[in-house]
Subunit: 193 residues, 2 copies
């Protein structure tokens, strides 16, 4: 119960992603982002690697951002030094937060988070692909979102699409198409000449 | 993909529940509420009825509030007439929203939602118990929350606890304890004499 109360704090962790739509026009928080990924894991299950355990994928995406309660969210396009600092902060957060659970459950949750971060198993690859695809969809809905705000160009987005392809060929292909559409719509700048 | 974009609107559906904590002090939305329930389904699995399919419970809680995109959220203590109007609106919403999915998936999601609403299977009973327990925990965190704002008394909360007991004896017993604690703390008014 202490864990259930603690994780509520994730609703207060803001992401870079800007939401659009009725009653929105505000930054997304990491709790509702995690919900969106979990529903995607349900409805896009057919795009997961053959034999992937979808229940495990769902558990991974539900828990993957809890470390941000302490570490905050880092922008996908942050530099290597910032990313390194973030990793250290997230490991410390995982130590604290998963330890609130009874020890066997805490261990299980920690292993699941480690697996997500290491991105070696098919479940982790698919979960990471969803985590990368979802903000692209939000940027499309928002007419540019973080791409515009941070001056991101199509080549930078395409470099990030490789991780989606690694988790799902079909979702990776879709993401490539979306980048093309975004450029055609004028909401994502093309690669500099 | 159209479904994935559509469901993002749930982040804009506000509930009565008032959140508290760092960066919060705002109404909860139905997307982050659904995420909270899904994590509860993971970590409170041992309190589910014997033999319950936890994957199904998780899917149910992830999808259960999508109808609120059209129908909005109704306060738990609304009167019978309002609840009846809400049911009609939610069925119409389910017709529209689940039909965005490919037909086999849409059918599956609709059956899952029907099952949740009818509360006959052990999965539905447990999912509904979580859905009722979570706002109690938020009210405790917020120092009274909707109980105070709407002048709810302990007997009214206890009447709602029966549904938790029906899904989980142990979580029901916990909820009863929490009501007692809330009264002792002075954040929930006792039953009128």
């Amino acid at each position: 119960m202490r864990f259930v109360a603690e994780i509520g704090k994730l609703k207060g962790v803001l992401r870079q992603t800007e939401l659009a739509g009725p009653g929105l026009a505000r930054p997304e928080n990491s709790a509702e982002h995690s919900w969106h990924l979990a529903v995607m894991a349900l409805v896009l299950a057919e795009h997961a690697p053959a034999g992937a355990d979808l229940g495990k994928v769902t558990a991974m995406v539900l828990l993957h951002d809890l470390v941000e309660i302490d570490a905050g969210d880092l922008f996908l396009y942050a530099d290597a030094q910032e990313q390194e600092r973030q990793e250290v902060a997230e490991r410390a957060a995982a130590d604290r937060i998963f330890a609130i659970l009874p020890s066997d459950q805490g261990m299980q949750a920690r292993l699941l988070w480690n697996e997500f971060m290491q991105r070696r198993t098919k479940e982790a690859k698919f979960a990471r692909a969803l985590d990368r695809l979802q903000p692209m969809l939000e940027n499309l809905t928002a007419g540019g979102g973080t791409w515009q705000r941070h001056g991101i160009t199509a080549d930078q987005v395409l470099a990030k699409v490789e991780l989606i392809e690694d988790g799902s060929q079909t979702l990776g292909a879709l993401a490539r198409e979306l980048v093309g559409e975004a450029v055609a719509m004028g909401i994502l700048a093309p690669a500099p000449a």
